[in-house]
């Protein structure tokens, strides 16, 4: 029982920390707002963990490298831009992609879909 409580309180603490992270990222939101206009998914807040490695890579590269890990790559033309928006949201939630990866891959797929 005690072990369960320790874990539960650990989780609560993690949630609190993340909550604080969410609040602090609100401040930065204004600065990135203009950039956010071109993006449909929640914009990267260029937060504490953001780094130049991800920023440097192109959407096409991130797509080719990350989306092949679990299953075959699906052709960009298989879905239209609106559908890719939903699929990348789906993959971000279930596949553990970072926000920047998801945003860049989505932008790439939307333009490469040709629709």
């Amino acid at each position: 029982m005690r072990f369960g409580y320790t874990l539960a309180s650990g989780l609560t603490l993690a949630a609190l920390v993340a909550g604080l992270g969410a609040c602090s990222s609100q401040h930065k939101a204004a600065a990135t707002q203009s950039a956010a206009k071109e993006s449909k998914l929640p914009q990267s807040d260029a937060g504490i963990f953001s780094n130049q490695y991800e920023e440097k890579q192109s959407g096409a590269q991130l797509w080719a490298e990350n989306c092949e890990r679990c299953h075959n790559l699906r052709s960009p033309s298989q879905f239209n831009a609106a559908q890719w928006d939903i699929i990348v949201h789906h993959m971000r939630v279930i596949g553990g992609l970072t926000a920047v990866e998801a945003r860049k891959i989505r932008v790439f797929l939307e333009s490469a879909s040709g629709q």
């Binding site: 029982m1 072990f3 369960g4 874990l7 539960a8 989780l11 993690a14 949630a15 993340a18 909550g19 992270g21 969410a22 990222s25 449909k40 998914l41 929640p42 990267s44 807040d45 937060g47 963990f49 953001s50 780094n51 490695y53 991800e54 991130l62 490298e65 990350n66 092949e68 890990r69 679990c70 299953h71 075959n72 790559l73 699906r74 052709s75 239209n80 609106a82 559908q83 928006d85 939903i86 699929i87 949201h89 789906h90 971000r92 939630v93 279930i94 596949g95 553990g96 992609l97 970072t98 926000a99 920047v100 990866e101």
Partner: protein, 457 residues
């Protein structure tokens, strides 16, 4: 205006006449003085009139100015109104085109995905059979941050697809909200992240083998009903991802109704019960690390306090502590040097439940559950070679095993070697063949052959 001009002209004419008279007559004469008087009067009148005229001109000018000003302001108002209405029109057109594009099937915030398969199974000890399964999944993007995933599973039961005989169920109800770049909160019923098989490789167009490793039938949860926080955090060129959940958790089998089935004998954890017997929830999660984009390694745990199922032999239900742990890895990449796609994945699961006495059962008292099992799988497909057909053909190998200890009814020591062929028609449509050598301690084992046609939707 007209009378003024007439008056001016008349005055000018009089002045001219007077001037002429002046020139003609002598200046000192009385008529001259009279004339001079008249002249000065006239001059005064004229000056007055000039003043009046200037004032009138001024007035007219200012009136004209006013008119012009009001005219121009009216014009700019008109211009603004025109711009506004053009913008309105644009907006309307945009709205309409958005509506139209939303009417296109599947292009809205709503998408049907999922998978389907037709499978033939021939396993020693059981009659061979065909079966079919379709799992539509609705990805419902309620908002850029809010996603509802609703999954259904419909399958055949023998020769029937009758729902009343249990041929369908809800497989996923996952409502999630992206809180920020690093965290998503969600809940419902979702494939368990524990040991990264059910949530990563479950669909038949993702997993090269037809059947799942045996360990996932016995030692792990396949779904969680609960809530979670998940996310990913980049660190340099690598990233971490996590999913921590609290869920209803398993119960523990205590009845002596089914003493002989491995994984369903007393002392075994039961993850799929339709009842929830106690307040003790399972707390678990998985922490993943992606050092390079093509590789992910993970550690999972789940702690729970499963209570015994209602049983005639056990008057007062009791609970035990159960702790599951797993490590897993997953690699997938087209390797140029090898001319093709290479996949390697695996996981090992360790399950530990407290010792307990399960009255009425055959076997050691107390029963102590330290089980483990796992799999390693390799896949290669020469996608880069220029030979038609051959480049669509992939080769798979898997080793998997389960060890459930003791001389008790639920004990199991099983190893399997599976060999598979995948022929890909498209990137999401595959025909799979698999032969499985099965080796169960003491009983031999039941080799199996599978043939499957599977698609991702």
């Amino acid at each position: 205006m007209k009378p003024l001009v007439t008056r001016v002209l008349a005055t000018a004419a009089m002045l001219a006449a007077a001037g002429t008279a002046l020139a003609a007559d002598n200046a000192s004469s009385p008529s001259y003085q009279q004339l001079q008087h008249n002249y000065s009067t006239l001059q005064k009148q004229m000056m007055q009139m000039q003043k009046q005229m200037a004032a009138m001109q001024k007035q007219v000018a200012s009136q004209q100015k006013e008119i012009a000003a009001s005219k121009s302001s009216k014009e700019s108002v008109d211009e603004k109104a025109t711009e506004q209405s053009i913008e309105d029109l644009y907006n309307q057109i945009n709205k309409q085109s958005q509506k139209i594009s939303q009417m296109e099937p599947g292009s809205t915030n709503f998408l049907i995905v999922g998978d389907a398969n037709v499978t033939f199974t021939n396993q020693r000890g059981t009659p061979s059979q065909f079966s079919a399964d379709v799992s539509p999944i609705i990805d419902w993007q309620l908002d850029k941050r809010l996603l509802l995933i609703a999954g259904f599973d419909f399958f055949t039961q023998g020769n029937s697809g009758d729902f009343s005989s249990g041929a369908g169920d809800v497989s996923i109800i996952d409502l999630s909200y992206i809180l920020n770049d690093y965290m998503t909160v969600g809940g419902g019923m979702f494939p368990s992240p524990f040991a990264a098989y059910n949530n990563y490789f479950g669909p038949p167009w993702i997993e090269p083998m037809v059947d799942a490793p045996e360990v996932y039938s016995y030692l792990t949860p396949s779904n969680e009903v609960g809530g979670y926080i998940s996310g990913a955090v980049p660190v340099g060129p690598t990233h971490f991802n996590y999913n921590f959940y609290a869920s209803n958790g398993p119960d523990i089998i205590s009845s002596d109704q089914n003493p002989n089935g491995p994984g369903s004998a007393p002392g075994a954890l039961n993850f799929g019960d339709t009842n929830n017997y106690n307040n003790g929830k399972a707390i678990g999660g998985r922490l993943g690390f992606v050092p390079i984009p093509s590789l992910e390694v993970g550690y999972s745990f789940e702690y729970s306090e499963p209570v015994t199922q209602p049983s005639t032999a056990i008057a007062t239900p009791f609970h035990v502590n159960a702790f599951l742990q797993a490590v897993d890895f997953n690699y997938g990449k087209v390797v140029k040097a090898l001319d093709g796609l290479v996949r390697a994945r695996g996981a090992w699961i360790f399950s530990s439940t407290d010792g307990a006495v399960y009255p009425g059962t055959v076997g050691p008292d107390p029963f102590n559950g330290h089980s483990n099992g796992g799999f390693v799988e390799l896949y290669y497909q020469p996608t880069l070679i220029d030979v038609p057909y051959l480049k669509n053909l992939g080769y798979a190998f898997r080793y998997d095993r389960v060890d459930i200890p003791g001389n008790n009814p639920g004990a199991l020591h099983e190893q399997r070697y599976s060999f598979g062929l995948n022929y890909w028609l498209y990137s999401d449509a595959v025909i799979k063949g698999e032969y499985e050598f099965d080796n169960v301690e003491n009983t031999g084992g039941n080799n199996a052959f599978f043939l499957q046609f599977a698609v991702g939707i």
